[in-house]
Symmetry: C2
Subunit: 189 residues, 2 copies
């Protein structure tokens, strides 16, 4: 097959996947996790039921793919924010702040999140995030901006857990304070 | 009825409840959450099936009661540790350290915990714990040992989240470091 044809097929596949995930996200937002059926997803996405089943065997697999897309977007967003800052200490601070904001947004999707967070892709994404934050911490520690008496991996775990408190933040000011306190814990003794 | 008789009935009720919860805990530990039936609990606890159903309508209610007992024990343990220290800063540190150890132990019971943590009693216990830590923080802040620029309630949420990192601590030394870093975040700027 010519290359162009393969590309067309790939683009079509992507379009079907995206349409399915968009329709599922909209339906879950409207009716909750348990109120969605394969037929409704087919109807909402404009994809034939038979075609839908070729892409996804069941609701569970669609939700997993949707969550993976969502998590990937977050990781990309954090990577982008990191690149906007040249200085390691600023970089770490900007990423942790963005992560706190994402944690806070996540509050609303808690039913779905707790259902999906144990999935393999979510565990991998968490590991990826942990490595990403560890690397930022290592870079900042080399410049003396972050304490050197605790391994970077442990400090990264501390940050990710501490910033989970952002889910309870009732205002932007409260969210800022959580980030400030978490950063204080990272500072050299 | 004479008072003694009421006391005897109350003691008997407590004994039946305790025996049921102990048997359930042992069976869940052995077979997992989904491998336990009412008949087996009756058999293991030495309580007749009919009697068991008078106390608990279903497995779910037994698990909730068992979890509540477990959570209450933890809260009592933390309160006891608090009372052993006279000085507010030490008190806060000792309680946070004990909470980190409990968080780490909780790792093993994650299947059951995630199932039960949304239950009403667990939410109440979490609120109780949050208030308890907030009070310790307020007392330490009044003596200038904890930062005063962030409300005690927010600092308590920060502590409870940050110490969740203890679930990933691979050694006692790592657990100590998590506590140290979390306490650094509390220190006056």
């Amino acid at each position: 097959m010519p290359k162009l044809w393969n590309e067309t097929i790939a683009a079509h596949r992507d379009a079907v996947r995206e349409a399915t995930l968009d329709a599922t996200a909209a339906l879950v937002a409207e009716r909750g996790l348990t109120g969605v059926t394969m037929s409704e997803i087919a109807k909402h996405s404009g994809i034939g039921r038979a075609t839908l089943y070729k892409y996804f065997p069941d609701i569970e697999s669609i939700l997993a793919a949707w969550h993976q897309r969502h998590v990937d977007e977050h990781l990309r967003r954090l990577a982008g924010i990191s690149e906007q800052q040249a200085e390691p200490g600023r970089r770490l601070e900007a990423v942790l702040r963005a992560y706190a904001v994402l944690s806070r947004e996540r509050r609303e999707e808690s039913e779905l999140a707790s259902h999906l967070h144990r999935a393999d892709h979510a565990v991998r994404a968490h590991q990826h995030l942990h490595q990403f934050i560890s690397a930022l911490i290592t870079a900042a520690a080399e410049r003396g901006e972050v304490r050197g008496d605790v391994p970077a991996g442990e400090l990264a775990a501390y940050c990710l857990h501490a910033l989970g408190a952002a889910t309870e933040a009732r205002s932007n000011a409260a969210l800022d304070r959580i980030v400030t306190v978490t950063l204080s814990g990272l500072r050299p003794a």
